[in-house]
Every structure is written in structure tokens, then in C-alpha cells.
Assembly symmetry: C2
Homo-oligomer: 375 residues x 2
Amino acid sequence: MKRYLIGLVFLVTLAGSLCLAQTNQPAIIEDFKPSSKNQPGQEYPKVNSQGYARFQVVAPQAQSVVVSLGLGGTRGGTPLTKADDGTWMGTTAGPLEEGFHYYRLTVDGGVFNDPGTLNFYGSTRWESGIEIPAHDQDFYALKDVPHGNVVQILFPSASTNTSRRAFVYTPPGYDKDQSKRYPVLYLQHGWGEDETAWTNQGHANLIMDNMIAEGKIKPFIIVMTYGMTNDVKMGGLKNFDIKPFQTVLLDELIPYIDTNFRTLANQPNRAMAGLSMGGMETKTITLARPDVFSHYGLLSGGTYSPEDIKDKSKVKLIFLSCGSFENPDGVTKAAVALKGAGINAVSYVSENTRHEFQTWRRSLHELAPLLFKDK
Amino acid sequence: MKRYLIGLVFLVTLAGSLCLAQTNQPAIIEDFKPSSKNQPGQEYPKVNSQGYARFQVVAPQAQSVVVSLGLGGTRGGTPLTKADDGTWMGTTAGPLEEGFHYYRLTVDGGVFNDPGTLNFYGSTRWESGIEIPAHDQDFYALKDVPHGNVVQILFPSASTNTSRRAFVYTPPGYDKDQSKRYPVLYLQHGWGEDETAWTNQGHANLIMDNMIAEGKIKPFIIVMTYGMTNDVKMGGLKNFDIKPFQTVLLDELIPYIDTNFRTLANQPNRAMAGLSMGGMETKTITLARPDVFSHYGLLSGGTYSPEDIKDKSKVKLIFLSCGSFENPDGVTKAAVALKGAGINAVSYVSENTRHEFQTWRRSLHELAPLLFKDK
């Protein structure tokens, strides 16, 4: 029953993020540059230093072109205006928050992607994406440091009668020292997304590379697979059944990873975390199987209460986070209550972000140094 | 100079594939099924058993929706017709050839992707794709066999001052037997494509998995990186300079692969092949540096003549292929001439295919068993 409430919490959080701040805007500074998420050679969309986004779409005979931002286009529209040359142009009414945003075009009533941008799987479809440069973007930048690999595996799944895909981040040097074994974080995407989200939108591999290069974390493996979350429509989450995914994860994927990668294959060296609906999955599975995971992370994905934890000795860390525009009091108070009950809990609130990937990039950056510390 | 001619050859070949066969078509059989390249849960586009493709696009206020097939939409248009419910529907005028085809929509004069399909990098943009089931599709099907991995690496490139991406196919069992070393095939995409093409469009990893499971080939590693081919527009290929890519490949990527993967790091165990403009690159680089590669493959990418080969003792195999609707006589005769000169040359013609990925999937399937045989 509680997991339904968690689902509700993040839907309400999402609904709370529908509007752009539009009042008393300063003059727009004309220093627009192509978004870093554009396709090669594409000039538009552009972003300026204040966080305004400007779009240009070619559709000479169209009668209406509207840009809709946010998961499922839920964050309001920016209508574009037709110029004499047949292009449609428009700028957001206000600055966007720092970080990554999904968006889509509505062209004469049909939903399409912006041909200017790369596509990212969200809202159960490949969506357009735009990046507002963040003041702290350095921690997920592509730098001249040793890079880990992102390994696509196809693992056998008897329960679903197919080979399933997962991505495995292996830290720099993984292939060189064949005697070394690593702890593993199982990291879940949110509703509408899939196993590509944490690297494509989240830059999880670059976050790890940079922190390892700086000596800030103990290197570990990250495994990302599809959480089977998208069989339900948003709002119908109470019909979600965790069992098929739990079977794939625990009975099929983890044994495959422990056989085929050099893992430390035991509970103290295994973590699970997830964003949004992936947090709901994390909570359900970690509580059902405390023998499998020792470190838990919910990123905009609800909270644990002390009563949830049956055997405190099995829990090494609970990490709870969200954006400051979500429900920061909820995660902060939950961590205090857990600590009061003698559980190692940490809360983190991402400043000035919503239920979006900048919150989750920062959350991974905060979570990673806390994992597997006592080993 | 010769490489310009090769460029010309494949452009002429491309131009020869612009029309669909449209005469005396049989009645359309109503057994349409969703294309295997559709996004999850999407019904359209659909394909029937004859190879007709049927499209449906939602754009209620649009005045015109046209589907254009082929690289860069060069293979003619299928105008869609508006139904009462605001959807646009249409079926190709004739059957399409077996295999994978790029396409795009033109909606009221603007070029967009079909929201029903996955996207594939071709024509220097992410394009829509559709799959016509082929009579021989079994060799690239996802089967219940041991699967190799596709490893995304980011390798340092001093010459281009960045970390560059490559994908590395490692055969099943690569991570288990740490004493085993493997030969390597460097495999290039064509103009307008990038390092994602051989796995996304070509299913190179599945082709390898299946052949290894059947014991048909000696397992080897495949490395795929961006050939830097897209800085020139089609038709301006004579301005293409191979040197920057040759430096990245020979001085940066190969040493990185030989350091970080368990390769057999010598000329007899190194092959290079490429499709279309990647064949042009293969020819230029293999001839310039016969000390690096021993096996050469040009897939719809021109031919070698006996005079090109300065030291026959260094060449273990030359493989030449194309589709039967391209220039089959050219590759067949070139192989005969090479054999006459004492060089181990093999030609292959893919039946009833054009300058498209079905030709290249089949070519890889023919090439793989011939590689590294004498080791």
C-alpha cells in the first residue's frame, strides 16, 4: 500500500512543476549559443546565459508550431512565430532551471521531435532534449581524465523469455588489474524512461570518471537496466506489479553480473538506488530482500521510515534526496527520523531544481562518495 | 586521385537506386505488422509480407505529409492522405527491398522524424528507420545464444584535443578466460553515419554472436569509431582529407585498444573494412600502411586493382562486395583480377539489394568466416 503513496507523491511533485516563472523578467541578453544536446552541426535550439531557450523550426506551410517542455510536455508551451523565410522562431517566456529538460514540438496538431536535437527516452517515447548550462556543470563534463567504459550486455532472462539489455559502467583501469574486484550499484531510471537514461541524460559515467580522477570515491561498478515501469500509464501506478522486475533483477541480472564481471558478490558490497518511480522500486525491493542490498538510495522517489527497517544491522546507508522545488522537508525529516532510530541516513536537497535530471545528477554526485565506505 | 573516383562510384550507385519498382504490382495483402524498428508500443509504420510499408502520422491541422525513403530521403516520396480522424495514412506504391531503410517525413514543408520509429544516424542526422523482414533475417536475429558485449569507450585523442567515442564488440566469454587474446577488425560506417551504425542498423554484434554460437567463425573483436566523414557534403567528397582520421585511427585508437583490450597486437591479426565511404577510407589507409592491416574489406566501397598492392606477402585477404542492384560486375571482375595476380581475393554480391544496410549485414556475414583463418 505504501508504494502506491510514493507513486502519488512523485506525481504530485511533478504536477507542482508545471509552470515557468514568468513575472518581472529582466531584459533578454543576446548571447545565445547552441545547446550542448543538439545534433552535430545544428545551431538551434540555443540557450543564453540567463537560461532562456530559443527555438527555430523549419515548416514553411505549417499553421502552428508550439514547443512543450518537461516530462510528457507537461511544463507549458512556447508558441513559435512564423518569419518571412518560412522558419518558426520563439523564446521561452522565462529562464529555465539549470540542467536537462525534455521537450517536444506540436506541429499542426501532431507531436514531433525537434530535428535540431538529439533524442532521449522519456515519457515512453524518444523526446527532444535541451541543456541549460549549470553553474556546477563541471562535475559531469567530459574531461581529459581516464574514462571508464559503458558496456552493453544482453543477459538471458528465462522469466521473460528473451535476452534483456543492461548497461554496465566499469571504472577506469577495470580491464588492466585482473585481480581487483568491485562493489556494485544497481541504478534505476524513472517512469517513461529506460536503461539509457542514466548515461544519456544523467551522464552517470562522466560523473564517476571525474570523481574517481579526483580521488573522491572508491571505484565501483554501476548496472542499469529497464525497470519495466512503462506498462502503466502515469496515474495508473497503483496497478504496477513489482514482481516481474524483481525476478529479473534478483534471479537473472545479479547472478549474470556476478558471473561475468569482477564483482564483490555479497550484500555489504551491493547497493540499489533509483530516481522517481525507480526509487519506488528500490524501496520495495530493498525492504523485501534485505539480504541482497546494504546501501539504499531514493532520488525524488519517496522516503523510508524507521518502522520500514526490520533489521538495522543489515542497512549500511539510506540516502534520500530531491530538488528544492519538490518536497525537501519530506526527505530532510525522514533522514532525521532514521538517524534518530540509529540508522545511517543522509538527506540531500538540490538547490533550485525540480523533478528533473539535474536533481538526479547532483544526487548521484552526493551519493557516490558515501557508498561502500567501510570496506 | 583514385579515391575521388571511388567516391564517385558510390554516388553514382546511390543515384541508381532512386526509384521504387512500381509497374504491374500484385494486389496488396492485408497482413501488415508493426516494423521491428518501431518505438516500444507503436503500431505504425507497418510492413506486410510482400514488403509494402504503410505509414500513419497524427497531424490533424497539417496540409501535407509525405514519407521519403532512402539515404537523405532520396528514394522518392509516398504522399499520405488525411482521414476523417485527423490521421494521415499511406502505403508505398510498391514493395520495398528486404532489410533496413532510412526515411523521413515532410510535414507542411518541414522535415521531421516519424514519432512511431526509433532513430538511426544517417545523412548526418538521426533519421527514422523501417525494417522489411528478409528471407534470411535469421542470421542477425536476437537469439537465445551467449551474447558478446558492445563496449562504449572514450579514448584520448591528442590530435583532435578531445576524448573520442568508439564501440568495441567483445565476443561471448571474453571476460571469463583472461588468458585468451583476440584478432581485431576495425569496421567503418559510411558517409552521413557514425560509430553507432554498425550495431544499430547493421546488428553487427548479433551477426557475430550467432556465427560464434554456430561455430562458423573464429571469435574476434570489432572496433567501430567515427570516420570523420561528415565534414563534406555528398558530392563534395573530393575535398575529403583522410589524414585527420588516419591519425586518430593509427596513432590513437589502435594503441588504446591494444593497451586496454586483450588483442593479438600485430599486423597478421588486424583487419580493416568499411562500407561505402568507409570502404574508401579502408582502401586509402590499408594501402598507405600495409604494415598495420593484413585483411581488407570494401563493402559497396570500391575495389583494389593488382597494381595497388605493393607487397603481396603482406595481404592475407581482400574482400569486395556490393548489392546486385549496385555494380556487381565491378567487384566480381576486380576479385578475379586480384586472384590472377596471386592475391587471396573474394567477391560477394548480395542478391536483390541496393546501397543499403541489408547488403552490408550480408557482407559482414560473408566476410567474418574468412578473417584470421590461417592463425
